[in-house]
Symmetry: C2
């Protein structure tokens, strides 16, 4: 095993709706002293992808449903935000103390459907998750590869809370070029015994590693992870990280 490096990358300009985020990341890379290398994994925070894709809702234009008003009253939230959360969700799993845990339309389980109000630039705005984060990742990957000539993987991330443990961690919500799970099925341990622990969610671990250089306020929306060996794949999806409901002991 060799060393792995996590390299922060600032994006040159503030991202606005309609921007081409793939080109902006490529430009920022080419303008930085940082060149891409074959096998790099480029980690991109959801926020700049969503902004560029115009996934912003003006709350004054949102008319909350009766259900949203009722839930908002029960949980001390803005009814318009609750309406936005419900529109982004397939199903509400739990609601308590200002947090509504849902299954998003993509299939992810997270608080408030990933709807965010910080770092957007207006009190009356809400930012949604990208519509198709795998597709967003693939677009960024293709542009980076054609602009730099290097073969890379891309992961789009968001910070999620989780049951049992305090604090949020950064996880993968979109992937391109990398299988999100590394399987050790059938592999033997150092003593020749078959491993029981068989799958590591490497895309989530890579996302968490990247968060260490991103921070919350330092405006580092992109990180490059260099030196991590992975199998390059054409077909992959962050939905592989979602445990099917019927196999989940905590739904």
């Amino acid at each position: 095993m060799a060393e792995i490096n996590i390299i922060p990358l600032r994006v040159c300009n503030e991202v606005r709706p309609g921007d081409k985020i793939d080109s902006m990341i490529a430009d920022s890379l080419l303008q930085s002293r940082q060149a891409l290398a074959d096998g790099d994994i480029v980690i991109v925070t959801q926020k700049i992808v969503s902004k560029a894709e115009g996934r912003i809702v003006e709350l004054e234009k949102v008319k909350p449903s009766r259900k949203a008003v009722r839930m908002a009253n029960d949980h001390g939230k803005d009814p318009r935000i609750v309406e936005v959360i419900l529109r982004e969700s397939k199903k509400v799993l739990r609601a308590s103390g200002g947090v509504i845990v849902v299954e998003t339309r993509h299939g992810f389980v997270c608080a408030n459907a990933g709807v965010d109000q910080s770092n957007i630039g207006g009190d009356d705005l809400a930012l949604l998750l990208p519509l198709d984060p795998d597709k967003s990742a693939a677009t960024i990957k293709n542009t980076l590869e054609s602009r730099t000539g290097k073969k890379v993987a891309v992961i789009i991330t968001d910070t999620f809370g989780r049951p049992f443990r305090n604090g949020q961690v950064n996880v993968a919500i979109g992937v391109a070029g990398i299988s999100p799970i590394k399987s050790y099925v059938g592999t033997a341990d150092m003593h020749g015994k078959k491993l029981r622990v068989t799958e590591i969610a490497i895309a989530d671990e890579l996302a968490s590693a990247a968060e260490l250089v991103m921070g919350k306020i330092d405006s580092v929306p992109v990180a490059i992870i260099r030196g991590y060996k992975f199998k390059y794949v054409r077909k992959c999806s962050a939905i592989e990280l979602v445990r099917p409901e019927q196999k989940d002991l905590f739904r």
Copy 2:
């Protein structure tokens, strides 16, 4: 933000019960070409700590209780393993399909109380989590600091599964010198708006980052994370990462 490096460290010899793991890690460091630096975070996999501390159970000596036999029959497990899991647990949360999710005596929620049968060197052996992982971390930290003269933090890790998402990720079960949660409470975002997302579980993210160089079969039980700025603290515990039961929506 500067670059962060994740440096793998092999431990020179196979760890056996009664070994001083703190000295072994210090020896391995001093024998490697890798010097410690002030502010390094040394991540140590639970397995070598538990082995050194003799947290190994010979299953032939375990007499399963009636409860263990019943659960073993229900879930297709070895009754002796179930007995060991129950002894390590305060409470069983769920049991299904060979997995028993418990609250360990420390307070962690994980599958099979962290009891492990791979990479131990015998079919009839089970490895338990360290009795007091924070204390184990503190011992390693003190020895590394006195042997190298550098100020470091230490995190002891294990791979845990989690609800909603497939695959395991490496998390912190013991810490020394570093607060496991980074709080952004009261911090303003780029636009002066107060952040709603307020706590990041950095010890878990550091653990996940370290797993990327550790792997499952490569016998890299230690990683050094260099370049991550953290506040050095005297008093800390990985139990800060555990959400109290009454605040957990999924217990």
